[in-house]
C-alpha cells in the first residue's frame, strides 16, 4: 500500500468525446488510506473522471496522477467479470494478470472468498451469481493484488441493501489497509461515509470537500414541511417535503430542517440549474 501522505487524482482535467465535453477543469484528490466519493446525476461525468484516473480515457487537458498500472485496481460500471469463468477462475486470472505468485494467490484468494462470503460459490460460474455477489467478486478481483489506488464505478447500483453494506465494509477495509479508494455513487447516504466528496454536474465540479464542509457551505435555508411549500423549489424526503429558501426566510408552515449531504447536493444542483437557465 502507499505510504502515508501519498495522494492520487487530477488537476484541471478535461475529457472530450469528439465535440462533446465530458469533463472540464475538474480537480480532485484522494489520499492514501481514505475513501473519496464522486457523486452526480446521469451524464455528470463520474465515469469519465474514473476512466481518466484509471487510464482508459485519454485526457484532453490537465494532469492525472495515478500509480503504476500494477498498483491500480478498477471495477468498471459494467460487470467487469468473466461470466463464463467460475469465481475461482476469475480471481485466479486477475491475480495472475497482476503478477501474483501461485502461493500468494492461494493465500489471498482464500481470504477474499471468506471476507466476501463467496467461499461457498467458488466453483460457480460468475454468470450464475446474484447481482450483489457479482459486484463482490469484481471488488475482490480489484483488491486481490492490494492496489495503491482502488477505483470503483457505481459498485452498489442495483444491489440489495445488505450487499451494499457488505461492499462498503470491503472497500472501507481496503482503505484501512492503506489504499486510496475512489468510488462513484448515486447514493448520497453512501457518499456521507467517505472522507471527501466531489459533486459533479454537467462535467464540472460543483462541490468538493468533506461531507461536513459540503453541508456547511449550503447557501440560504433548507426547510421541512408536511405539505409542499408554495413558491420555492422543493423536493420529497420520505413522506415529508424539503424546500430551499435562498433568502434565508422561513415560509409559513415550515420548520428548519436538519441538513444532510442529500439536501446540500440538491440545493447545489438547483443553484446550478438557475445559473444555466439565466
Amino acid at each position: 500500500m502507499s505510504p502515508e501522505g501519498t495522494s492520487w487524482g487530477c488537476r484541471r482535467l478535461g475529457v472530450r468525446y469528439g465535440a462533446t465535453v465530458a469533463l472540464e477543469e475538474v480537480s480532485f484528490e484522494v489520499a492514501a488510506g481514505t475513501v473519496a466519493a464522486v457523486v452526480g446525476g446521469d451524464g455528470a461525468g463520474k465515469t469519465s473522471l474514473l476512466r481518466a484516473l484509471a487510464g482508459t480515457v485519454r485526457p484532453a487537458a490537465g494532469t492525472v496522477r495515478r500509480p503504476d498500472e500494477r498498483r491500480l485496481g478498477y471495477v468498471s460500471a459494467g460487470p467487469g467479470i468473466w461470466t463464463d469463468l467460475t469465481v475461482d477462475e476469475n480471481l485466479s486470472f486477475s491475480g495472475r494478470a497482476y503478477g501474483l505468485s501461485a502461493g500468494e494467490l492461494d493465500r489471498r484468494v482464500g481470504g477474499l472468498l471468506e471476507r466476501t462470503g463467496l467461499a461457498g460459490a467458488r466453483d460457480r460460474l460468475a454468470g450464475r451469481l446474484s447481482g450483489g455477489m457479482r459486484q463482490k467478486l469484481a471488488l475482490a478481483m480489484a483488491v486481490a493484488h492490494e492496489p495503491d489506488l482502488l477505483i470503483l464505478d457505481e459498485p452498489t447500483t442495483g444491489v440489495d441493501p445488505v450487499s451494499r453494506a457488505e461492499l462498503w465494509r470491503l472497500l472501507a477495509a481496503s482503505a484501512a489497509g492503506g489504499a486510496a479508494v475512489v468510488v462513484a455513487t448515486t447514493y448520497l447516504d453512501e457518499a456521507e461515509r467517505a472522507a471527501t466528496v466531489l459533486v459533479l454536474d454537467r462535467g464540472r465540479s460543483l462541490l468538493a470537500g468533506t461531507p461536513d464542509e459540503v453541508v456547511a457551505a449550503t447557501p440560504g435555508l433548507v426547510v421541512d414541511a408536511a405539505t409542499r411549500p408554495d413558491g420555492i423549489p422543493s423536493w420529497r424526503r420520505g413522506a415529508r417535503w424539503r424546500a430551499w429558501s435562498p433568502d434565508g426566510s422561513t415560509p409559513p408552515g415550515t420548520g428548519l430542517a436538519t441538513l444532510d449531504l442529500e439536501d446540500a447536493v440538491i440545493v447545489a444542483q438547483l443553484r446550478e440549474d438557475q445559473r444555466w437557465a439565466a
Binding site: 482508459t56 503504476d68 498498483r71 494478470a97
Partner: protein, 360 residues
C-alpha cells in the same frame, strides 16, 4: 399486432447494417454471382511440347489456349507444367503418330470439358488425366473446404471471442490490467489458432482416409500455406471485432467476408470461367490463394517454388490485414494508459510506486 410490427419496423430502420444487408446485398450478390456462377470453361491453358509442337499447336481446337510451344521439351516437362499449374492441358508430340494429351485432373472443370470434347471426336487421341484420374469432385473440393473451415474458425470464432469481451464490458477491465495490447491479442488468439490447427489436422485425415484425397506434396509447404492463411482469417476476425459492438454485428460482417470467398475464390466455380469484371475480386481474396496452395500440394504434389505466387500473396495479405487489425485493437484497448508521451495532458505515473511494486 400493428403495435408489434411498428416497433419492429422502427428497430429495423435504426439497425442500418441489417437493413443494408437485407436490401442491397441480394442485389449485389445477384449481379456479382450472376457473372461468376459458371462451370463452363471456354479457354483452357495449354502447352505443346515435342518435335512437332508447332505443327500440332496450329491444328488444336480453339478451346485450347496455347500459352507455350516448346519443341525442345518432352513429357517430363509437360507433366511439370501441369503440376505447377502453368497449364491445364499439355500436348506431347513425337516424331510421328498421334500426340499424347495430358490433362490436369485437379483443374476439374477444364479437365472435364477437354476430356468430353476429345473423347467425342473420332481420330483424336484419348486424353490421359493426371493427379485426379477419376475426375473425382471430392479430390478437389476437400482441400478447398479446409480453407472454408479455417475461415469459420479463424474469422467467426475470433471475431465473436473479441466482441464478447467488448459486449460484456470486460475489454475495459483488460485495458486497466498490466497487459500490453499485443499480449492481450496474442493470448486471446492462441486458443483459436490451436483449435484451427487441430481442425486442420482432422480435416486432412478425414479427407485422405475417408474421401481418398491424395496428399502428394510436402506437408511443410501445406502447413506454411495454412498458417499464412490462418493469420489472414484471424486478422479479418480481429478487424471485424474492432468495428462491431455486438456479436450479431460481428456475425453479419463475418458472413459478408465469407460469402465472396466461398463463391469467388475458385473453390466452387473455376476462376477462368468467371467474367473478367468479377474475376479480379477473386484475386483479392485470401481463400483463392489457399485453395491454390491446398490443391497444388495435395492433389498435384506441387513443390514450394511452384506455389511462390499464392504463398507470397497470402504473406502480403496476412501482413496487411493482421497489421491493420493489431493497430485498431491497440487503439481500442489502450487509449490513454500505455502511451503517455503523446498525450495532450500530462499523466504522472508514480515511478516510486512501480519500484515498490517490483520490490515486493
Amino acid at each position: 399486432m400493428w403495435a408489434m410490427a411498428m416497433k419492429e419496423f422502427r428497430q429495423m430502420r435504426r439497425d442500418r447494417r441489417t437493413l443494408a444487408m437485407m436490401i442491397l446485398l441480394p442485389v449485389l450478390l445477384l449481379v456479382v454471382f450472376g457473372y461468376a456462377a459458371s462451370f463452363d470453361v471456354d479457354q483452357v491453358k495449354t502447352v505443346v511440347v515435342g518435335p512437332r509442337a508447332e505443327q500440332v499447336a496450329a491444328a488444336l481446337p480453339e478451346r485450347l489456349d496455347v500459352v507455350r510451344v516448346a519443341p525442345g521439351e518432352g513429357r517430363q516437362d509437360a507433366v511439370e507444367a501441369l503440376r505447377d499449374a502453368d497449364a491445364a492441358v499439355a500436348v506431347v508430340t513425337g516424331d510421328a503418330g498421334q500426340p499424347q494429351v495430358l490433362v490436369d485432373g485437379a483443374d476439374l472443370f477444364s479437365a472435364r470439358s477437354v476430356v468430353t470434347e476429345l473423347r467425342g471426336r473420332p481420330g483424336l487421341p484419348t486424353p490421359e488425366v493426371l493427379f485426379n484420374p477419376g475426375l473425382e469432385t471430392s479430390a478437389i473440393m476437400v482441400p478447398g473446404l479446409m480453407g472454408v473451415v479455417l475461415v469459420f474458425v479463424g474469422t467467426i470464432a475470433t471475431a465473436l471471442g473479441v466482441v464478447r469481451e467488448r459486449q460484456s464490458g470486460t475489454l475495459e477491465q483488460l485495458a486497466v490490467m498490466p497487459f500490453k495490447a499485443r499480449d492481450v491479442l496474442a493470448g486471446k488468439l492462441l486458443p483459436y489458432l490451436g483449435v484451427a490447427v487441430v481442425d486442420l489436422a482432422v480435416i486432412v485425415a478425414v479427407g485422405v482416409l475417408l474421401f481418398n484425397v491424395p496428399f502428394r506434396g510436402s506437408p511443410l509447404v501445406f502447413a506454411l500455406g495454412a498458417i499464412e492463411f490462418l493469420f489472414v482469417t484471424v486478422g479479418i476476425g480481429v478487424l471485424i471485432s474492432t468495428v462491431s459492438e455486438t456479436q450479431g454485428q460481428a456475425i453479419q460482417l463475418a458472413i459478408l467476408t465469407m460469402l465472396p470467398q466461398i463463391l469467388l475464390s475458385g473453390l466452387i466455380f473455376p476462376l477462368q470461367a468467371m467474367a473478367p469484371g468479377v474475376r479480379w475480386i477473386g484475386y483479392l481474396l485470401p481463400l483463392t490463394y489457399f485453395v491454390q496452395v491446398a490443391r497444388g500440394v495435395m492433389v498435384r504434389g506441387a513443390p514450394f517454388e511452384a506455389l511462390l505466387l499464392p504463398l507470397g500473396m497470402l504473406a502480403v495479405l496476412g501482413t496487411a490485414v493482421f497489421g491493420l487489425s493489431i493497430a485498431r485493437f491497440r487503439r481500442d484497448l489502450a487509449p490513454a494508459g500505455r502511451d503517455h508521451g503523446a498525450d495532450a495532458a500530462d499523466v504522472d505515473q508514480d515511478q516510486a510506486a512501480s519500484a515498490r511494486a517490483g520490490a515486493r
